[in-house]
């Protein structure tokens, strides 16, 4: 009885704190969950047990927020009620907040599904409270180093999480050799239900690394790794035997169709395959004979959409109008978000790590308009204080862009990086100044690539400006 009252109190306090947070304009939502869990340590277990049909957890270095929101969007379109941590508070407290928020004032939860984005290193903690039915892992790239240590730590943590949720279906990206190796290791550990999704015949035009002999360095007779991508080297080597993987199709980072020439480790045959992929204009592919198209940019979004569809297929939910649902989807802030300021288009994209930046650069290169690029790099705790990863991004591929402006707390570091990439960028550490200068450039579109702590400020600034009539009024 006491326990039930504590849980009710926890839900109420949590809801109050969410409202208070909203009034204060806060976007993070971990704090309410923290208080709720302190009041009733079993609150998450109790609420999660009331989910009727299934709990889906989404992990992975990049794309988990988008994938999770796609799953939410598709299931909503199917008429289901859901719990979802949409804004990306993805550690234990964030999950608690999402469940308490979805609960009624009577403390009961009315939900068919829960789709919860879970930070890789928090998965063990979160799964102590509930067992997901499906765990989607999007990819495993190197993240900010000082926060995550090494990719090995992430993999070990996910292995323990998978062991905790022994009956869950693991839905893994077959094109990522790190995940394919992970799948093998987890299978050896006794996990039975592992499925894969992947691409067939992706158009390689904008995504391949420099073809042999065409990189800026190799043209000067310098051998790799000078300016070819090495950012995901761990991934490009066989995790089982250490040999360098051979690719007969390569997309970005370590993703592609690969095989190990030494030990025979090879890409698993996907259970869900995206075929007939196109990237012109929007993006489109076929899955199991269903044509799926959306007005997004970037090959990486095909993975996000494919994973979301695979979840639906896993539950055998076929009656959803997927294309209509995707068309109605509003991207989260900073995911190739478009603003119009004084008649000029400004695209804001959040990139948190080398793979994310490389994806953004690949997407930017598919845009044929004349471009100005603003790169904002901060090094606050949430960004990772170590900025050495800037040297693992292929900024060399921003060639032919006359105007690049570096900004943020590490604007000067970024400018040195651009110098080595062959571009004498301008530096304007104040984000506002950088945006202003970019708007004044003679180009059709401004791409603003930011890392985490610069996102909300830049977003609010662009939104404010887009509501004005002309781009020349400031202050």
């Amino acid at each position: 009885m006491i326990q039930a009252q504590r849980r009710l109190l926890a839900v109420w306090i949590c809801k109050m704190l969410i409202i208070a947070g909203k009034l204060l304009g806060k976007r993070g939502s971990a704090t309410p969950g923290k208080f709720a869990l302190r009041i009733a340590p079993d609150i998450l277990r109790h609420l999660a047990a009331q989910v009727r049909q299934g709990i889906i957890a989404v992990c992975g270095t990049n794309g988990k927020t988008t994938t999770n929101n796609f799953i939410y969007t598709l299931l909503r379109a199917g008429g289901y009620t859901l719990v979802c941590n949409r804004v990306g508070a993805n550690m234990l407290y964030g999950a608690v907040t999402a469940f308490a928020d979805a609960a009624g004032y009577g403390g009961r939860l009315n939900a068919d599904f829960a789709c919860i984005e879970v930070d890789e290193l928090s998965a063990v903690k979160v799964f102590a409270h509930f067992t997901p039915n499906i765990i989607v892992i999007t990819n495993l790239f190197r993240d900010q180093l000082d926060r995550y240590g090494e990719i090995d730590i992430t993999i070990e943590s996910l292995k323990r999480a998978a062991a905790q949720a022994g009956k869950a279906t693991l839905l893994l990206n077959a094109d990522d050799p790190m995940l394919a190796a992970f799948g093998r290791e987890v299978r050896a550990q006794g996990h039975a239900n592992i499925k894969y999704f992947g691409l067939r015949d992706a158009p390689l035009g904008q995504s391949e690394p420099y073809p042999q002999g065409t990189s800026p360095c190799s043209q000067r007779g310098v051998q790799p790794p000078c300016c070819t991508s090495i950012e995901t080297r761990e991934g490009r080597f066989c995790r089982l035997c250490g040999a360098e993987l051979k690719y007969d199709a390569y997309y970005y980072s370590q993703l592609g169709r690969y095989a190990c020439p030494r030990c025979g480790f090879t890409r698993p045959e996907p259970d869900y395959t995206a075929e007939n992929i196109t990237l012109d204009g929007g993006i489109a592919f076929d899955l199991d004979g269903t044509h799926i198209a959306a007005d997004y940019r970037g090959l990486y979004n095909i993975y996000n959409m494919l994973a979301a569809c695979a979840v639906l297929w896993e539950y055998d939910i076929r009656a959803v109008d997927i294309n209509k649902a995707f068309a109605g989807y509003r991207p989260q802030i900073g995911r190739m978000e478009t603003f119009t300021i004084g008649g000029k288009q400004v695209i804001l994209n959040l990139s948190k790590n080398p793979a994310g930046f490389n994806q953004a650069i690949a997407a930017l290169r598919t845009d044929t308009r004349s471009k100005t690029v603003v790169i904002v790099i901060n090094d606050n705790d949430q960004d990772g204080r170590d900025v050495s990863w800037l040297w693992d991004v292929d900024f060399e591929r921003l060639d032919n862009i006359p105007d690049i402006i570096t900004s943020g707390l590490r604007a000067a570091d970024m400018r040195v990086r651009m110098k080595y990439a062959g571009n004498m960028a301008r530096i304007l550490p104040e984000i506002k100044e950088a945006i202003r200068a970019a708007l004044l450039c003679d180009s059709d579109v401004v791409y603003t690539l930011v890392n985490y702590t610069a996102l909300f400020y830049t977003h609010d600034l662009l939104e404010k400006l887009s509501k004005r009539r002309t781009r020349f009024i400031w202050k």
Binding site: L145, Q223, P225, C227, R233, R385, D386, S388, A412, Y420
Partner: protein
């Protein structure tokens, strides 16, 4: 004139933007009209030290370091001869630890190359953060980022510099890195060389002199590098960074 840089085990020791260090070495030669060549060595490749002017050894995870250290024992004497004949070496983080006698983690001991009289002990907690040091090898402060669990004690050796802010070799004695002949060992990445052009040039000069190239290095326009260096030094070490 052409300088050959041997990059040891980039498939295993490649944390922390090491590519930036290699790029800095190559470009600062090329910008001066001096040729540069990179040779990458995988774990079981034979290394002809006589063909190398600069050896680069980066950082890796503990697991990768174990793999490398077994191999290093086999090439120890060739490596030591190279060092004793004034060959230039830059070793960063894990690579730095491997130059010493050992790296002890509890009961496990990773045997090093024993080129330097340096020992590393694993102690609780990691030293993580921005570092600013003063070094006789550079008129401006040397800036970088450290992230290591090992504490390195350099005995009678000369440190690369004196810590102004950050942990350095062990967080206790105020030393960062080591300099022995033309060998530099340091915990600083970030990467190290692009933002510390004088240190980069010190290594290049050492390698060029050994090859009989005695003219002065042509000055380069380092405005951007100096701005970046100063931004870090002033932000993290404040006024202390300005003191000579």
């Amino acid at each position: 004139m052409e300088i050959t840089i041997g990059h040891l085990y980039p498939d295993l020791l490649n944390l922390y933007g090491d590519r930036g260090n290699i790029m800095a070495l190559v470009r600062r030669l090329e910008w001066r009209g001096i040729g540069a060549k990179i040779r990458e060595y995988r774990l079981h490749d034979d290394i002809d030290f006589a063909a190398l002017d600069i050896v680069f050894l980066g950082g890796g995870s503990d697991r990768e370091q174990m793999l490398v250290c077994a191999r290093l024992r086999e090439i120890r004497s060739a490596f030591a001869d190279y060092v004793e004949s004034d060959g230039a070496v830059i070793a960063i983080c894990g690579g730095y630890q491997l130059l010493g006698e050992y790296y002890r983690m509890g009961d496990a001991v990773i045997e090093g190359l024993r080129i330097l009289d340096v020992r590393t002990e694993n102690e609780p907690g990691r030293l993580i953060g921005n570092v600013v040091i003063r070094s006789p090898l550079s008129s401006m402060p040397i800036v970088g980022f450290e992230n290591h669990g090992g504490r390195t004690y350099i005995g009678e050796h000369t440190p690369l510099g004196r810590v102004i802010t950050g942990g350095g070799n062990n967080g206790k004695d105020g030393h960062e890195g080591v300099q022995y002949k033309n060998v530099l060992g340091t915990y600083l990445h970030g990467p190290l060389l692009p933002k510390n052009p004088e240190l980069c040039d010190w290594i290049l000069r050492a390698a060029l002199l050994r090859k009989g190239y005695t003219s002065e290095l042509a000055p380069l326009d380092d405005t951007m590098e100096i701005t970046a260096n100063r931004a870090v030094a002033e932000r993290f070490a404040g006024k202390m960074a300005k003191r000579p």
